[in-house]
């Protein structure tokens, strides 16, 4: 039963005001590290109070966002200026102007700190090669395939470095790494690039548990169709956002989770599903019964050892208070179900 319904977070968590308000101003200074470390410890304590089995990296307090964090650490990427996302919201989209190589490790500082605190139950999120490719302008490489493979090679080196740090502290123990790939299914004719670049990323890295996080896809089936070709152990996905808020375990009440039947049918390699049971885009705190219904619906499709529980995505879009309540209800739901299936 130890491996039944393992609970985890996905990645980001709202930063405390004292860190977020000065993040860019002091980034990289001693003061920054002091604040980021303190925020990480506070967040881990919150996750432990909730009862999470896996604490991730304590809410990504060392990172501002997922693309720029990595792109800034790669030689060969140039930023010309912000690009609009929607309304008056902008993001920095880099341009690849020459062969890329790693300028500095993406996440070693964060991992070193976590290891110094003796945290074992961690999962390191990294941004996957397909998403890095899809979110960059390419002025240099021949095509999108070659660009994604170049990002994959860099990520492979980075993950090997992270693994060395981990092995020095916890030899023989598996390191969990989550490849964040929100862009995965945005171009249905490019699933071959997704498969090849992910496999290149994890190549020759032993004794790691690799998962992939995808969210807000219009068609997960594109990914389910190829998942057996990818050398990863599990998929952490968003489901609650596409579900109703009504209780019940009938198909009509759980439209967000019906795709799992398709997943189960094709899951030859017994990959686990990280089940998004709480929506990170609404303040409404899903009641325990609703979360239980989402889990129980899934238990009718998959065995408990293949189900993990998580929010749909990183919780940084919600206040820490709301996030805590959402995670707490997830934990209560999990414990009640574990009692029921004993």
């Amino acid at each position: 039963m130890n491996n039944y319904l393992i609970s985890q977070e996905i990645g980001s968590y709202r930063k405390p005001e004292k860190l977020s308000s000065v993040f860019h101003k002091i980034y990289g200074t001693d003061e920054f590290y002091k604040l980021a470390e303190k925020a990480t410890v506070e967040t881990v304590k919150e996750f432990e109070r909730v009862g999470l089995n896996n604490i991730g990296v304590g809410g990504e307090m060392f990172r501002w966002e997922m693309y720029e964090h990595q792109a800034n650490r790669i030689n060969g990427i140039k930023f010309y200026g912000p690009v609009r996302s929607f309304d008056n919201r902008y993001y920095k989209k880099g341009s690849i102007v020459e062969d890329m190589d790693i300028k500095e490790s993406y996440h070693s500082d964060e991992l070193k700190f976590l290891l110094s605190q003796n945290y074992e139950n961690i999962k390191v999120p990294v941004t996957g090669p397909y998403t890095m490719m899809d979110w960059s302008f390419n002025e240099h490489y021949h095509d999108r395939y070659e660009t994604a493979m170049a990002f994959a090679e860099l990520l492979n080196k980075e993950m090997k470095d992270l693994k060395k740090l981990w092995d020095a502290k916890f030899p023989g123990k598996k390191l969990q790494i989550q490849l964040d790939e929100p862009a995965t299914t945005t171009h249905p004719d490019e699933m071959n690039i997704v498969v090849d670049s992910l496999n290149r990323s994890v190549k020759n890295i032993d004794n790691c548990e690799f998962s992939i996080h995808v969210c807000y896809s219009s068609d997960y089936r594109l990914f389910y169709d190829v998942m057996n070709d990818i050398n990863i152990d599990g998929l952490n996905l968003e489901f609650a956002n596409r579900d109703t808020l009504e209780t019940g375990i009938e198909d009509s009440k759980r439209p967000g989770y019906q795709d799992l039947k398709y997943f189960s049918e094709f899951n030859d390699k017994k990959k686990f599903i990280g089940l998004g049971v709480t929506d990170v885009h609404i303040d409404y705190v899903e009641p325990v019964q609703l979360i239980k219904d989402r889990i129980n619906y899934t238990l009718n499709i998959l065995p408990p050892e293949l189900i993990r529980l998580n929010p749909d995505c990183g919780l940084r879009t919600r206040s820490r208070e709301i996030s805590y309540q959402k995670l707490k209800n997830m934990d209560i739901a999990k414990n009640e179900i574990l009692k029921e299936i004993q």
Partner: protein, 293 residues
């Protein structure tokens, strides 16, 4: 050969304008101040367009996406959820269309709208074309309770009214989505009265377009050029990439157009420039100014 250079659609805002809109969103500056800034920024850009001899639409600095102000001024349309568009990180608000009745807010008036910088819809100048999304893409990118033909007819009627209000004779209709071979867009109600330049995406098929527009501007291929030449008076090609920061080679572009064997041509860009950082969009304008030299 006569080459018309055309820039259409959303153009990236300057940093100053972005900050000004931020302040407006937070309520620290009034609508009128934002309106003045938008007019100044549009006029500055028009000066550049005119110095470069570039025909253009309004840069739409006060449109949050290509549907938003239209959805807000037409009765029985409303704003839906943020929806991905082209890029994983790029979104628009999906219009919800229950019916298309009439314009309920004057598009030429100064009207602060919900979530959207103030109208008027366009600021005109000498080389000005109006900009409107094509009915087919509008339909596909919205949640619509009407059949397509009904939607198309009613929307084009609204478009005619808008163009009459602004007393504009030339309009760019933009289709960001590719056509299937059996898609038919009938823009006769507009082409009867206005000079229509239809900007398409992807492969063209001979039966896609009814109502001969002044120009069909398509992605570059021999087949597209042939169809564009047959179905419109002046063929058009998208030879500048509005989707990548890489600068085109002006000599290559000039070589392409010199070898096309046409007397008149419109040269434009793939995707509107708002997908680019402003500094790169400005460089691409400068490059466009040299096309046909």
């Amino acid at each position: 050969m006569n080459v018309e250079k055309l820039v259409y659609g959303l153009y990236p805002k300057s940093n100053e304008l972005r900050l000004h809109i931020n302040r407006w969103e937070k309520g620290t500056i009034p609508d009128s101040s934002l309106n003045d800034t938008i007019i100044d920024e549009k006029n500055s850009l028009y000066k550049v367009y005119n110095d470069y001899n570039i025909v253009h639409t309004d840069p739409l600095f006060n449109w949050y996406d290509i549907f938003r102000p239209l959805a807000l001024i037409i009765d029985n349309m409303e704003l839906g959820s943020l929806t991905r568009f082209k890029e994983t990180n790029t979104f628009y608000r999906m219009p919800i269309v229950n019916e298309i009745n009439d314009i309920i807010i004057n598009p030429a008036g100064f009207s602060p709208l919900n979530e959207e910088p103030p109208l008027p819809l366009y600021l005109k100048d000498d080389n000005f074309n109006a900009f409107l999304p094509s009915p087919l893409s509008f339909y596909r990118m919205s949640q619509v309770a009407l059949e397509y033909k009904d939607f198309e007819k009613k929307l084009l009627n609204i478009y005619s009214k808008i163009l009459n209000i602004f007393k504009v004779n030339e309009v760019v209709l933009y289709d960001p989505l590719s056509y299937d071979s059996n898609d038919i867009i009938d823009i006769t109600p507009l082409t009867d009265k206005f000079i229509v330049k239809l900007v398409t995406t992807g492969k063209l098929y001979k039966d896609n377009i009814k109502g001969k527009p002044y120009s069909i501007i398509s992605d570059y291929s021999n087949s597209n050029l042939e169809i564009s030449g047959e179905l419109s008076r002046v063929p058009g090609l998208k030879l500048i990439d509005g989707y990548n920061t890489k600068m085109e080679d002006i000599n290559e572009i000039n070589n392409i157009i010199n070898n096309l064997g046409v007397d008149n041509l419109i040269v434009s860009h793939r995707e509107y420039f708002d997908f680019l950082p402003r500094i790169i969009a400005d460089k691409k304008l400068s490059l466009m100014s040299k096309i046909g030299d």
